[in-house]
């Protein structure tokens, strides 16, 4: 089952669960975080301390709930949801998805039970805890799942829950060689998911959101840079010459660089969504207040009913956009969790950057930066080493060449990535690929310089436009509050403009950080410095047959 199917299934599960089936209801206080333990060992149930797959009570009240997804030994999925109307009123739906399909628990008092020959399920709610247990006979033997969620969250797993850009990068640099080998697929998947999510932005109703009032900047565009990427099928486990070994080390450093870049992309995208949401929620409050006032004015017979309809329509769109963005944000966090190798359901958050009022972006000398980037490029150095190795290898060693720009489409999987043989016969191709990497590097510098230039030029425009726009909207609101003639169309247009300029302000500030990060990547500085030093030495060189 691929990820898409998994998500569809989960969505379906919750859709079905949402019907009017009997539910276990608990009214009372079960506030804040819960400690959640899971074990498959019955003996350890009472004292288990493993953190589980629970998306918990830290999320906002609108989405208050816990989702539990588990796979048994046969990798089949179990899913159930505890959802609540509020932190003080939660419900455990009695329909649970198990490998055979949906089962309904027999609800009695505060517990629900299901018992069949190969499957026993029990779920209970109390003032203090949520209890959930599965005993199943699977093809591969007996399997138990026990989840206990109780008050007083003990975040003792030692994992960080709030990430700054620095701590994210540190986490990435701690990725081990073994995990990274497994992570290649995940890494690509996440990169693609992140890009795909960014592409979803236009589905927002109010086009000014996240795009700026005149589409001055595009964060997804700024974030989407990706250099062609070469890596061995299995690091350090092949016959190799010194040059090949060094090439693999550089390849690994490139992977780390891409991972740091991906982490930064997640950080900036999530920061953008968080900051945008914060602004949008503020605007939503203002628009709700305004709508209520206009609505009251209409109801009271002081205003034309059309005025309220216009504001109400815009309010609905903004609400819908806030929900969409919240959903996207959750997806981004889930992607980041996967990227970091954390349980998806354990909440993580981002320490938002403090945005400068006057973003500083250095002027870029394209020629100079390109020259420096070419000199320092890990990718080009790797290609040089591969070419050098190829010249000495008569027998081919397979490397994969990942070029998202060339293959396009985020559904392209790992298996379809072109392969390169590191052998004398492939030297020309390797040189051609090096030329491609060099060209893309040059294009990246050009693109970087272009965005930096736009940000530099537009920053003062955005600043003054924002001041004027704020004044205009304030004046409109004063009109409304003082009982003067109120033109709703005019107001919502001005309001949307202000929203756009606010978003542009956030984007300009974030772009200044993104540009700094991109420059560091191009010049292998800052977070991208000394990546080669982090690269593991690998296993000793072993000649085949020895």
């Amino acid at each position: 089952m691929n990820k898409n199917h998994l998500f569809s299934l989960v969505g379906l599960t919750f859709l079905v669960v949402g019907c009017d089936e009997p539910v276990l209801k608990l009214s009372g206080s079960l506030p804040g975080k819960l400690s959640v333990v899971k074990t498959t060992d019955k003996a350890k149930r009472e004292n288990a301390n493993t953190l589980v797959t629970v998306r918990g009570f830290k999320i906002d009240q609108q989405n208050f709930g816990i989702d539990i997804l588990e796979r048994d030994l046969s990798k089949t999925l179990y899913a159930f949801k505890i959802k609540g109307e509020s932190p003080s009123k939660i419900q455990l739906h009695s329909q649970i998805f198990v490998p055979k399909g949906f089962i309904s628990l027999q609800v009695q008092d505060s517990c629900g039970e299901y018992a069949a020959e190969s499957l026993k399920v029990k779920a209970c709610l109390s003032e203090e805890s949520i209890y959930f247990a599965i005993d199943a006979q699977t093809e591969k033997g007996p399997w138990q799942l026990f989840v206990h969620a109780a008050k007083n969250f003990d975040d003792s797993d030692g994992m960080q829950t709030e990430y700054s850009l620095d701590t994210l990068v540190k986490s990435v640099k701690k990725f081990t060689y073994e995990t990274n080998i497994r992570r290649e697929v995940v890494f690509q998947g996440n990169q693609n998911i992140a890009l795909a999510r960014a592409n979803l932005l236009p589905r927002l109703n109010l086009k000014v959101l996240l795009e700026g009032p005149k589409a001055l900047f595009s964060l997804p565009e700024a974030l989407s840079s990706f250099l062609p990427f070469v890596f061995p099928n299995r690091w350090y486990e092949l016959d190799r010459t010194k040059a090949l070994y060094q090439a693999e080390r550089y390849s690994y450093a490139v992977l780390l660089s891409q991972q740091v870049s991906t982490a930064a992309n997640f950080y900036f995208t999530i920061s953008h969504y968080e900051l945008a949401l914060k602004e949008m929620r503020g605007f939503l409050t203002t628009l709700e207040t305004t709508y209520r006032r206009v609505h009251d004015a209409v109801e009271g017979g002081f205003e034309d009913p059309n005025e309220a309809a216009i504001v109400g329509n815009r309010l609905s769109k903004l609400k819908s956009d806030v929900l969409s963005l919240e959903d996207d944000l959750r997806q981004q966090y889930a992607s980041l969790s996967r990227f970091l190798g954390r349980p998806i359901q354990t909440p993580i958050s981002i320490e938002l950057p403090s945005l400068p009022s006057d973003p500083t972006i250095p002027e870029i000398d394209v020629f100079q930066v390109t020259k420096q980037a070419e000199e320092k490029s890990l990718e080009l150095k790797q290609m040089d080493l591969l070419i050098e190795a190829a010249k000495k290898h008569s027998k081919g060693v397979t490397f994969s060449f990942f070029d998202p720009g060339a293959i396009g489409g985020w559904e392209i999987g790992f298996d379809k990535i072109p392969r390169i043989e590191i052998a004398q016969s492939e030297t020309r191709r390797l040189e051609a690929e090096k030329g491609l990497v060099g060209r893309v590097l040059g294009e990246e510098v050009e693109k970087f310089a272009s965005i930096a230039d736009r940000v530099l030029k537009q920053a003062p425009i955005v600043k003054s436009a924002l001041v004027n726009s704020e004044k205009t909207v304030r004046r409109e609101l004063d009109h409304l509050n003082s009982g003067e003639d109120f033109n709703a169309s005019h107001f919502v247009d001005r309001f949307e403009e202000l929203l756009g300029w606010k978003q542009a302000q956030v984007q300009v500030a974030l772009l200044s950080f993104i540009m700094k990060n991109k420059l560091e990547k191009l010049l292998t500085e800052g977070h991208y410095e000394n990546l080669l030093a982090v690269v593991p030495e690998g296993k000793p060189i072993q000649k085949k047959g020895k």
Binding site: R292, R293, D296, A297, E299, G300, G301, F302
Partner: protein
Amino acid sequence: MKNLFRGKVVGATLSTLFLAAIAGCGSDDARRREIAQIEGEEAAKKQVETENRNRDQRAKAMEEDLAQRDNFIDALTGDFVGTYTRIDSIYGEQKWEVHMNLTSSLPTYKPPQRVRSPEEIAVDLAKIAIRPTVKETNLDSGNTFGCDYGDVLPDYNYGMFQAKASSCNKQYFVSLALPDTTDENPIPKDSQIKMARALMSGALLRVDELTVIITSNFDREKRIVQLKRKLPNE
């Protein structure tokens, strides 16, 4: 030098005698003219006196009229509050408070010691009016709306007035008692007419309750609301 002075004195004496002789010829005509003049002055004086008396009487009547209007408006001056409920399509039952502030366009009139000219009084008569300002507050949301209706001339005989202005989307028909119909020209009740008279005469010094029919440019529905005087300590 002496001769010259003597000659001048003799000349002046002769001239005087000549003039006296001429005057003695027309003395009857002069007398008649004198009498006519005296009679004319007396007539004129009488006429002026009559005119003044009439003017004073008119002024007095105007002062009385002004005082009656002033009594009427003065009795209405103050704050009146009432509530009504309407079912809102989104927020359900909403309670609205109507606050009507009535002031006089002229400060309370105190007659001066002197008798004012009718022209002076006419200016006041033309100016005197009620100034209604109405605010409506949704008591659930706290949102307040309102309008200032400027100078409104009341119907002193029937005890009613209409707060209406082109810049305001709501109109308030105010009467001392609930009229029989909510038509635009409702027929006042006898009690209302009697009350209006009592107000003008000063027999009734204060109105504590008003009936208001509220209409809106955007709403066909008419609302009848009873407003009660809001006392200063309330």
